[in-house]
């Protein structure tokens, strides 16, 4: 490989996932990719495109529609020392995999007292828009966070997409890797050489003293937009992306809230028993007697996801509603403000047909 590398090279999130996968497949012959459609002409939004042409049909292959067994197959191959990456076009399909993931993958290392490890990566893509609706838009990270023995990563940037996927592949434990299709087109600087981003570290994306906004997956993008809106009214928001959800880097979040005295936790799922609940609970435990703080959570509206656009718009938090909620946290709960903001382009420009 050339040593002349462009250190400012830009990749999309999808390209970063592809590159991470390809490089790890080059590095380790035990790494393989499988799942419905990974070797089809669309190659899972390009993230697995033609990998079988580079690495052979045994290392990037389509499967029958058998999510439960295929998860077991991944576990079995991992027990034999391989490093499978099992890809799901929608995270909702993981509901078919939970017996194997929760009853087996998460428990094997402990249950067999370290005699085995289960280094699998389960990629789940969150759907949104164009009428994905109730069954194609769910994010299940809190299910995996609830149970010990499984890691959860939800990168929001191309850089983290690459670094975290490499880290997940190299990790000796089951890792659920959560992607969001509205992030796929976003571009950013990504080093060409392989690198592993250590799991378990939050990123403070912007510094600010007025309010801490912790956002997850696609909500990171919306929170950053909200941060700019808030600037206009003189509010400095510290936006934190936990990146890894299990283990969750609460030290970074708690230190920020201790300073700002305000937390807005914005999840890309429902709030009830979700990640935002965990964040508030841990802050309450950690800061009691130390620092009072104001707190709010945002997430999916407490309904199944509707398909029609006007209702779907109300279902998700967005830059405007996040900014408004942060505003009222800072100014007092009565305070309201109506920033002018248009819909995020990755959403407004998304034209289906799926």
């Amino acid at each position: 490989m050339s040593s002349m590398r462009n250190s400012n090279r830009s990749l999309t999130y999808a390209q970063a996932l592809y590159e991470a996968t390809r490089q790890e497949m080059e590095r380790d012959s035990g790494v393989f990719v499988f799942g419905l459609g990974v070797d089809d002409p669309k190659g899972m939004y390009g993230t697995t495109l033609d990998l079988h042409k580079l690495f052979g049909a045994d290392r990037n292959f389509d499967t029958p529609l058998s999510e439960d067994a295929m998860t077991g197959v991944a576990i079995g191959a991992a027990l034999a020392g391989m490093r499978p990456i099992h890809v799901h076009q929608r995270m909702d399909f993981l509901l078919l995999c939970l017996n194997q993931l929760i009853n087996i993958a998460a428990k094997s290392s402990y249950m067999f007292n370290g005699a085995v490890s289960v280094p699998i990566v389960v990629r789940g893509i969150i759907g949104r828009s164009w009428g994905q609706g109730a069954q194609h838009s769910q994010a299940l990270h809190s299910y995996f966070m609830h149970v010990p023995g499984i890691k959860v990563v939800a990168p929001a940037t191309p850089h983290d997409a690459k670094g975290c996927l490499i880290a997940a592949i190299r990790d000796n434990n089951p890792v659920v890797f959560m992607e969001h299709r509205m992030l796929y087109g976003n571009a950013g600087i990504v080093p060409e050489e392989p690198f592993a981003t250590p799991l378990g570290h939050a990123r403070t994306l912007t510094a600010g003293d007025d309010v801490t906004i912790v956002a997850i997956s696609h909500m990171v993008v919306e929170a950053l937009r909200a941060k700019h809106l808030l600037e206009e009214v003189g509010i400095a928001a510290e936006v934190i992306d936990p990146v890894t959800l299990a283990p969750l880097d609460m030290d970074t979040i708690a230190a920020s809230v201790e300073r700002t005295g305000r937390i807005l936790a914005v999840d890309n799922s429902w709030t009830m028993c979700g990640t935002s609940a965990e964040i508030l609970a841990q802050l309450t435990e950690r800061l009691q007697g130390k620092r009072q703080f104001r707190a709010a959570r945002m997430g999916y509206a407490p309904v199944p996801c509707p398909t029609t656009k006007p209702l779907e718009n109300l279902f998700y938090p967005n830059a405007k509603t996040i900014a408004q909620r942060a505003y009222s946290l800072v100014k007092g709960n009565g305070a309201s403000w109506d920033p002018a903001v248009s819909e995020a382009t990755e959403i407004s420009e998304f034209k289906g047909p799926f």
Partner: protein
């Protein structure tokens, strides 16, 4: 063709086939306007399966299907206006705009809600059949699913239970050869859904070439046996999807299947074939009526309003 001579029935079958075809074509026409923001899985090329089977069902028989559900919904008698309004995400849609193309429902005519998760309605159909049998109803259930559903374990569990309990259910496997871009022979060591159903001692039959009359005849026989208490039956209907898995486009450019294969199936077009059996006046009368109905349905959908914010929170729970 079979000895199918009753003109009224022939006309009714043609009307149903033509109506589905034209609805899908109208969707294709409208789609680029972005009025339909819903993933449409078109039935073009596969109309004969739903039409053949539903032509022998009674209104209070029950059908469960999939996200590729336009043909079934229409063939079983679902309200066209409400379907189009649903695709438009409008308040007058069959689910008030909350569901879109993948989740059509019209329980008044026995169309139970379809699902976007492969194979999920198969056990539900079995459960409904269990209820019908428990209640000594004369109705039966038909479960429609793609051959992709035969990859899912839940289908075997469902067939087993239906057979064990001798439930009044007809399984219709719509084998269009592909699950998205994956050919059935890449998913099964031998593509043999009938044989698979057979191990549960469910009589199974395969109908080639999407032949509407053969599908109808096989269904008629199966439904009679089921209604007489004979337990489940299974029919595999070979068929073909002309358009892309999802969306309005053709998909030759993706090269996952050969043009020749597609063209052979297009040549078999049941809509054209059966239309050709009608006198041209009769045919034109049907087409005119149907075209008018469709135009009206799209106009209705256009005019219907979007649901308002208050509707976001309704019907999460049933009172």
């Amino acid at each position: 063709m079979t000895n199918f001579t009753d003109t009224a029935q022939l006309e009714s079958i043609y009307r149903s086939l033509y109506r589905i075809r034209r609805v899908e074509e109208k969707i294709i026409e409208v789609y680029p306007s972005d009025a339909i923001k819903s993933p449409v899985h078109l039935s073009i090329g596969q109309e004969s399966v739903a039409v053949g089977v539903c032509s022998v069902l009674k209104p209070d028989d029950i059908a469960f299907g999939t996200y590729r559900g336009h043909a079934l919904y229409l063939a079983k008698g679902g309200d066209l206006k409400r379907m189009i309004a649903e695709l438009y995400g409008k308040r007058d849609g069959s689910a008030g705009g909350k569901a879109g193309s993948m989740h059509l429902i019209d329980i008044g005519v026995g169309v139970m809600g379809t699902s976007a998760i492969v194979a999920t309605t198969v056990p539900q159909a079995v459960g409904y059949a269990f209820a019908l049998k428990s209640r000594k109803s004369k109705s039966i259930v038909v479960s429609f699913f793609g051959e992709g559903a035969m990859d899912e374990g839940v289908s075997y569990e469902s067939l087993n239970f239906a057979a064990l309990r001798k439930l009044p259910i007809l399984f219709i496997c719509e084998n269009n050869h592909y699950a998205i871009y994956s050919h059935v022979r890449d998913r099964m060591p031998e593509p043999n859904p009938c044989e698979r159903a057979g191990v549960f001692k469910i009589p199974a039959q395969k109908i080639e070439h999407g032949d509407t009359f053969k599908i109808r005849a096989a269904s008629e026989k199966a439904v009679d046996k089921i209604r007489a208490g004979g337990g489940p039956r299974f029919i595999e209907c070979m068929t073909y999807r002309w358009r892309d898995h999802v969306g309005p486009e053709e998909d030759r450019r993706w090269k996952y299947r050969s043009d020749a294969e597609l063209d052979e199936w297009i040549k078999r077009d049941e809509v054209a074939r059966i239309g050709g059996m009608l006198g041209s006046d009769a045919r034109r009368a049907i087409e005119r009526e149907v075209d008018a109905e469709i135009a009206e349905a799209f106009a209705f959908a256009e005019k219907s309003s979007f649901p308002g914010p208050a509707e976001l929170g309704t019907n999460v729970f049933h009172a």
